[in-house]
């Protein structure tokens, strides 16, 4: 009954509070590099890709008609080195999986290799995860990012169950208390225990860029020029290109204009914002 009482009042840590778990020192960069190497060694099998058209403006009410951010991953030049995974970890303070979960291949990485091809949340235009999220913690920004509001997440994991590509990672235990997280980037809060997390398309970079722009040009419209994601920066082959699908001048549109675009079969019908490029039209 007392346990049920805890459940009612939500004392995750029982009577003693988290302090009992103690303070642990945070891991070093090399630990993360080792984990990425491990993840690459036991990477999942590849997607089977189907052709998709170039992403267009979203139809949902309130969706922006001038911004839809996304990425295109060039399969011709990507060699699956996995530098993007590490860059993503450092940008977004992603925690280590811990030994026993790592053995099962359950990493927290937002970017995972599927048959030598990086894959992350595809930021689907009509995302199944958002449809089933009970609290609205998983929701869509007007400019096409499938965002997570971690403070609003109640950890029902319905979104994770409903993601066709399993891009969502669940924080089974407290990354800080268990000493599995290192805060590389002060701009991104470390996710707490019990919330679902996933690729945010480097939301923080977009937010900062938008604000700095709006502060100086309050009346002009911001197209996200000059912003790029950590994985795109890190890619030595420039295989990952970030940009704005609705902006003719954006590097993304320029790169993808005369390429053949693909997406995994599971999400091809869900209007993904992130596509693969292979071959020329």
């Amino acid at each position: 009954m007392m346990a049920a009482g805890f459940a009612l009042f939500g004392c995750r840590d029982g009577l003693f509070g988290p302090s009992i778990k103690g303070k642990v020192k945070s891991p070093s960069l090399s630990d993360f590099e080792n984990e990425v190497r491990l993840a690459l060694s036991m990477q999942k099998s590849g997607f089977n890709l189907v052709r998709v058209p170039m992403p267009e403006a979203l139809k949902t009410p309130g969706a922006s008609q001038e911004n839809r951010f996304g990425m295109a991953i060039d399969l011709d030049s990507c060699d699956g080195c996995g530098k993007c995974v590490l860059a993503c970890i450092q940008e977004n303070n992603i925690a280590l999986a811990g030994a026993e979960r790592a053995k099962l291949g359950q990493f927290m990485h937002w970017i995972e290799m599927h048959g030598g091809v990086p894959s992350m949340c595809f930021h689907c235009g009509d995302a199944p995860c958002e449809k089933v999220c009970p609290t609205g913690a998983a929701n869509h920004t007007p400019d096409g990012i499938s965002a997570m509001m971690y403070k609003r997440c109640t950890g029902s994991r319905f979104c994770g169950a409903n993601c066709p590509v399993h891009a969502r990672k669940f924080n089974f235990d407290d990354p800080v208390a268990t000493g599995r997280s290192h805060k590389f980037n002060g701009n991104v809060p470390v996710r707490a225990q019990g919330v679902m997390e996933k690729c945010s398309l480097c939301l923080q970079r977009l937010q900062d860029a938008r604000h700095d722009f709006k502060a100086l040009h309050p009346l002009e419209s911001w197209r996200g020029r000059g912003v790029t994601t950590a994985c795109a920066v890190a890619c030595p082959k420039n295989a990952i290109i970030f940009g704005n699908w609705l902006d003719e001048g954006s590097p993304l549109v320029i790169a993808a204009k005369n390429r053949v675009l693909y997406a995994p079969r599971e999400v091809a019908a869900l209007n993904p914002s992130i596509v693969y490029m292979r071959g020329y039209r």
Binding site: P61, G105, Q193, V195
Partner: protein, 572 residues
């Protein structure tokens, strides 16, 4: 006697179970077996199992009542009691399986101070509301039944309430099935899940009631036959599931459909142990079914915590049920008992034709249903108008799922308020108690409205000090320069290059006039030098501005300075 044994058995299961529950609350979802594809695991399979039982109890008693099939009071009360206890057990699991339990209130589609609103398109929200409403109504139904032998007013309520509950139960369990049918998980695809779940619920519920009847030391042949007949129907569902997705589980088949056929052996059928075994195997088989349904992939590390949770659910249920059964001995057993041969020869029903929409139930229900529909409409419109849905395309299928439960709740309230008002004794205690209940409810509503408070961040020391420039990176353009000027220089030199009269005249000797011509003659570099290192009254900004900033400032200053020789007072 049998009850005491059951009570001890229940406690023996409950206590270790509590330990497991406490541990999984402490540890969070990591405690039980999950993996990257199985996000729910044991608790939710238990939830589906017990909620199925919870629905079956009322379903059996309400359907039979609504359809006019006579069922004796004791059996039907047992069924309803099962419902209540199973509901309490089932309610624990969705709550404890959450990652952030203290945020569970965010699932309630109820306005919150910040204007957040639950996503009414999510089956979990439907679940929460439907099950809550169902719990309230089945409790009311049970209480009415409990008191119905003393008050005719309540006895008259039973059939209308049954007609309300009958669709509600089906609806609620359908919603539970939609939790799975809606998703993209290949193992859960199935537009037939509503029927599938309902059939499973009735089947397991019949088994449970039969088990309890064995404990009561009596039997109702009709229910046994219904159970065995149910095994046929379940077979069809499993067969179709196999045809659709090719997953077939032999143990489920064996326990759920094969073993129950032992009922045909008369010696088995006649012995209490035999009946117990048959019903128990049905229950076990259906639990297995739910277990494998909820875990699409082979569960990794199915450990003692899962066992403990199972033990907890079982022990909690038994303890609760037996406790209530002992407490309510008199009202449950008090009535005339007619057991057994009810269904052998169906009583010939004289076809007396009632004009459409004129049956007694309908006349009683007419007004409450109307009110219910109105309230549900208003609620739905209000909910959809919440700002949370500015960017969500809501369709009818999203909002319709909560419609009928709300109708049923309001209708039942309108239906019951008057008879209860007439029969409730006006003792001081009841008045105070009901008032207290209402006030507590209001308090809880207030808690939900307030929502949680997010704790402040602690900023590491020194972060307050501006980095040497607030615009790091590229060489500032004119807009940056203007911002810099307004922040750093305008307090003396004025935003427009005119002096800030209030400040300068009072405290500083006025610098000499500086026209565009003079600016040009001094030259950019030396002006930058002045800005960085200071001069007579000009402060050094070395370390607070980069040279790039200073240069941009000079250019900006130049743009402020008018070409004409008079009255330009731009001064370094």
């Amino acid at each position: 006697m049998i009850f005491r044994i059951l009570l001890y058995a229940g406690l023996a299961l409950l206590l270790p179970g509590l330990a497991a529950l406490g541990y999984s609350l402490w540890e969070g979802p990591a405690a039980w077996s999950l993996d990257t594809r199985t996000f729910w695991g044991t608790p939710i399979s238990l939830f589906v199992f017990w909620i199925g039982l919870a629905h079956a109890g009322t379903l059996i008693s309400a359907i039979l009542l609504a359809l006019g099939v006579p069922l004796d009071r004791r059996t039907s009360m047992l069924a309803e009691l099962t419902t209540l206890c199973a509901l309490v057990v089932a309610a624990v699991f969705p709550l404890m399986h959450l990652g952030v339990i203290e945020n569970f209130y965010m699932v309630v589609p109820f306005i919150d101070a910040r204007g957040n609103f639950a996503n009414v398109g999510s089956p979990l929200v439907w679940d929460f509301c439907c099950i809550a409403i169902y719990a309230i109504l089945s409790l009311v139904f049970f209480v009415i039944h409990l008191l119905s032998d003393r008050f005719q007013a309540l006895e008259d309520l039973r059939r209308p309430m049954a007609w309300l509950l009958f669709p509600l139960v089906l609806w609620v369990h359908t919603i539970v099935s939609l939790d799975f049918a809606v998703t993209f998980v290949p193992e859960w695809r199935g537009a037939f899940f509503p029927l599938y779940f309902i059939a499973g619920a009735i089947y397991s519920g019949l088994a449970m009631v039969n088990v309890l009847l064995v404990a009561e030391g009596c039997r109702v042949r009709m229910l046994e036959k219904l159970m065995v007949a149910g095994s046929f129907v379940m077979l069809a569902f499993w067969g179709w599931n196999f045809a659709l997705k090719g997953d077939w589980n032999f143990s489920v088949f064996a326990f759920g459909a094969l073993l129950p056929q032992l009922w045909w052996v008369s010696s088995f059928r006649e012995s209490a142990v035999g009946r117990l075994l048959v019903s128990a195997s049905v229950l076990f088989g259906l639990w297995l079914e739910r277990f494998y349904l909820v875990m699409p992939s082979e569960p990794q590390g199915f450990g003692w915590t899962d066992m403990g949770l199972i033990a907890f659910s079982l022990g909690f249920f038994i303890t609760l049920l037996v406790f209530l059964r002992i407490k309510l001995r008199k009202p449950i057993e008090g009535d005339v008992l007619l057991f057994g041969e009810l269904d052998e020869k169906p009583v010939p029903v004289v076809e007396h034709h009632t004009e459409p929409l004129t049956s007694r139930e309908f006349i009683v229900l007419r007004f409450p249903l109307l009110v219910g529909v109105l309230v549900a409409l208003v609620y739905t419109l209000w909910a959809v108008s919440r700002p949370a849905f500015d960017s969500v395309a809501l369709g009818v299928p999203h909002v319709v799922a909560m419609f009928f439960p709300i109708v049923a709740l309001v209708a039942a309230f309108v239906l019951c308020i008057r008879p209860f008002w007439t029969i409730v004794p006006r003792s001081r205690f009841t008045v105070l108690a009901s008032a207290a209940v209402i006030v507590v409810a209001a308090f809880l509503a207030g808690m939900f409205y307030a929502g949680g408070s997010s704790q402040k961040a602690v900023r590491e020391a020194g972060a307050d000090i501006p980095s040497e420039t607030i615009f790091d990176g590229t060489v500032p353009d004119s807009l940056h320069a203007r911002a810099l000027w307004n922040a750093r220089c305008s307090s003396c030199h004025g935003t427009d290059g005119k002096f800030n009269e209030k400040f300068i005249r009072e405290f500083y000797p006025v610098p000499q006039k500086l026209t565009a011509a003079r600016l040009d003659s001094i030259g950019e570099d030396s002006l930058v030098h002045v800005i960085l290192n200071g001069r007579a009254n000009m402060n050094p900004y070395e370390g607070r501005l980069t040279e790039a900033d200073a240069r941009a400032l000079v250019r900006y200053m130049r743009s402020l300075a008018p070409e004409t020789n008079d009255s330009a007072e731009v001064a370094p």
